[in-house]
Amino acid sequence: MVDSRAIKQIDKYLFEIDPSFREDMRVPARLYTDAELLEHALGDASVDQLVNTATLPGVVKYVLAMPDIHQGYGFPIGGVVATQLPDGIISPGGVGYDINCGVRLLGTHISEEELKPYLDELATAIYNNCPSGVGKGGEIKLKTGELDRVLEEGSRWAKARGFATDEDIERTEVGGCLEGADAGAVSAKAKERGHDQVGTLGAGNHFIEVDVVRDIYDEEAAQRYGLFVGQIAVQIHCGSRGLGHQVCTDYVQRFQQTVQKYGIRLPDRELVCAPLNSPDGQAYLAAMKAAANYAFANRQVLAHHVRRAFAEALSGKVRNPHVFQVYDVGHNMAKIEQHEVDGERITVCVHRKGATRAFGPYHPDIPSAYRDIGQPVLVPGSMGTASWVLRGTEEAMRQTFGSTCHGAGRAMSRTQAKKKVWGGELREQLEGQGIHVRAGSMSGLAEEAPSAYKDVDRVVEVMHGSGIATKVARLVPVAIIKG
C-alpha cells in the first residue's frame, strides 16, 4: 500500500510519487488533489492502482490522478495514462467497461420561473420518453446491418435517421464519430447486447437531470456556451450500454494471452494490453471506437427523446420550448492525440478512465463557436448535488494531456450506501429540497445517494485552482430521471 510518506507535495494542488517508489515504475505518478481528497484516495487501493499504471510499456511523462480518483479494477477511476506510438500499449481496462460513458448538456430558453408550474409534467414526460432500467430495450428498431452503421458512423447515423441536427454534431466531441471504427472488430455477442439499446439510459449511476444554472463564474465563456443564470438545462449521463461492456469483456479476455505473446509483465491481470502497432492492439482500438460511436449515437437519440418530451409537456405553455445542444463529451475513452512531451510534439494514446478531455483555446477539435474560449467540460455531481461546466485551458494541454476530472467520485461502496440510506427516504429528502424524482428502482436510488460520493465542489476547486479547467457555471438539479 502507498502511504502518505511516499507522496511529495510539489504545488498547492499537485502531489507526486517518484518512480523510485517501486522498481517496476517507468514514470512518476502525479495526483491533482488536496489534503482531504488525498486522504480519501489513500483510504482505498486507488493510489496503488495508479502506481500500477506507471509500469505499462510505452507510458510517457507521468501517469495522472484527478481529484475524484477512486478505486476501480486495474486502472483507477479518475486516471489519465498516455502511451507513445507506435509500440506503446493500449489497454481495454484503461478505458473501462462503459466505453465512452459521457455527458451531454442541453440548453434551453426557458427560465426556472417559467418552468415551475409544469416541472412535474416535464419530469414525467422525460421518464416516459426515455427508456431506462436494467437491460431495457428502446423503441428504435434497427434494420439488418444498421447496427454496423451506428458503430461506424455514430451521431452521423443519428442525423441520417432524423435524430440530430448539424449543430448537435458540431457540438459533440469529435463530431460524434471516431474515424477508424470497425464493426467487424465487435463480436456477435456485443452486437446482440446492443441491437435494441440505442436511445436507452440503462441503470446504475446513469441519469437524465433537469437543472437550473445557479451561478455563472465566467461571463464571456457562459455567454458563448449559451448559458445564463436561472436557465433550465438538461444533462444526459450514459454510455455504450451492454455493447460496450461486452467489447471490453471480449478484449480483456483475449488480451490475457496477448500479453504473454508480447512478453508484457503486469501487476494486475485487469491491466492487460497490447502494443498499439500490433494486430491485437489495432483490433481493440477499432472495436473501442465502434463502441464509442454507439455511445455518441445513444446520447444523441436520448437528446432527441428529451426534445420530444419538452415539446409534449411544454408546447403552448412556455414562450420557446426549443432545446439546443451545448456540448457532449466522454469520460471513458482512449484517443490518439498529439501532445508535447519534453519539448517534442509526439503522438500518444491518451487513456482517460473517469477523466474528461479538456482542450484549451484554439485547438482544432473544438467547435468553431467555442474555439477561442476552450472546450466545454461537463462535470456531473452526485445525485441531488451541483454539477459544473468548466472550460479547458492551455495549462491542461501542458500538464495533463488536455484532461480533467469527471465527477464527484465514489467515497462509499454501493452496499454501504444501501445500508445507510433507504431509497424511499432519500426520495423524500430530495423531494423535500424541491427536486422531482422519477426512478425505476428504489434500491438503485439508494446506491447513488449523494453521501456515497465526494464533494463535487471540492473536486472542481482543485482543477480550477490548478488552472487545468476553470469554472464557468454551476448547475443545481430540479428533476432527476433514473433507471
Binding site: D44, S46, H70, Q71, G72, Y73, G74, I77, G96, Y97, D98, G133, V134, G135, K189, E192, R193, G202, A203, G204, G242, H245, Q246, C248, T249, V252, Q253, Q256, Q257, D268, R269, E270, V272, R410, A411, M412, S413, R414, T415, Q416, S441, S443, G483
Partner: protein, 136 residues
C-alpha cells in the same frame, strides 16, 4: 460454509467464493452471481428452462471469467438467471454444464461485466477460494 458472500468494494460489487474443488467453485460463483442478479423469493423466478453452456479458456481464472461472462450475457439478453447447475465436464481450461433457471421479471443489479481485478484462485485448507469483482 456458504459457497459465496458479498464483500465491500468502493465502486463495485465483489463476491468471495469458495469450493472444495474447481467444479464446486465454478458452481458457487454462478449461484453467487444469480443471487446478485435477482432475489429468487421476491422475483418468483420459475426455474423452467435449461440451457447448455460450454466455455473454453486457458487457465482456471480465465475459465471462471468466461463462465460468469456467459451468465451476465444471458441476464442482459433476456434476464435469464440460473439456479441449478449440473457440470458435465470440467478441467482447468474447459467447462461444460447444464443450467436450469428462468427469466426474472426484473433484475436487482445491472452487472456490466466480471473483471480480472486482483483475480486469483487460491488453495486453502478447505479447498479453493477467490474474490471476484463485478463492474456494476
Amino acid at each position: 460454509m456458504q459457497g459465496f458472500e458479498e464483500v465491500e468494494h468502493t465502486a463495485d460489487i465483489a463476491l468471495r467464493v469458495r469450493g472444495r474443488d474447481l467444479r464446486e467453485l465454478l458452481v458457487n460463483a454462478a449461484l453467487g452471481l444469480s443471487a446478485l442478479l435477482a432475489d429468487r423469493t421476491e422475483a418468483s423466478v420459475e426455474a423452467t428452462q435449461t440451457r447448455q453452456v460450454e466455455v473454453e479458456a486457458f487457465d482456471p481464472e480465465s475459465l471462471l471469467v468466461s463462465w460468469l461472462s456467459e451468465l451476465i450475457y444471458w441476464a442482459e439478453k433476456d434476464r435469464f438467471v440460473c439456479y441449478g447447475i449440473e457440470v458435465q465436464e470440467v478441467s482447468s481450461a474447459h467447462l461444460k454444464a447444464t443450467c436450469t433457471g428462468g427469466c426474472a421479471p426484473e433484475l436487482r443489479h445491472h452487472i456490466k461485466a466480471v473483471t480480472y481485478h486482483n483475480l486469483q484462485i487460491i488453495q486453502t485448507d478447505q479447498g479453493l477460494e477467490t474474490t471476484v469483482v463485478f463492474d456494476v
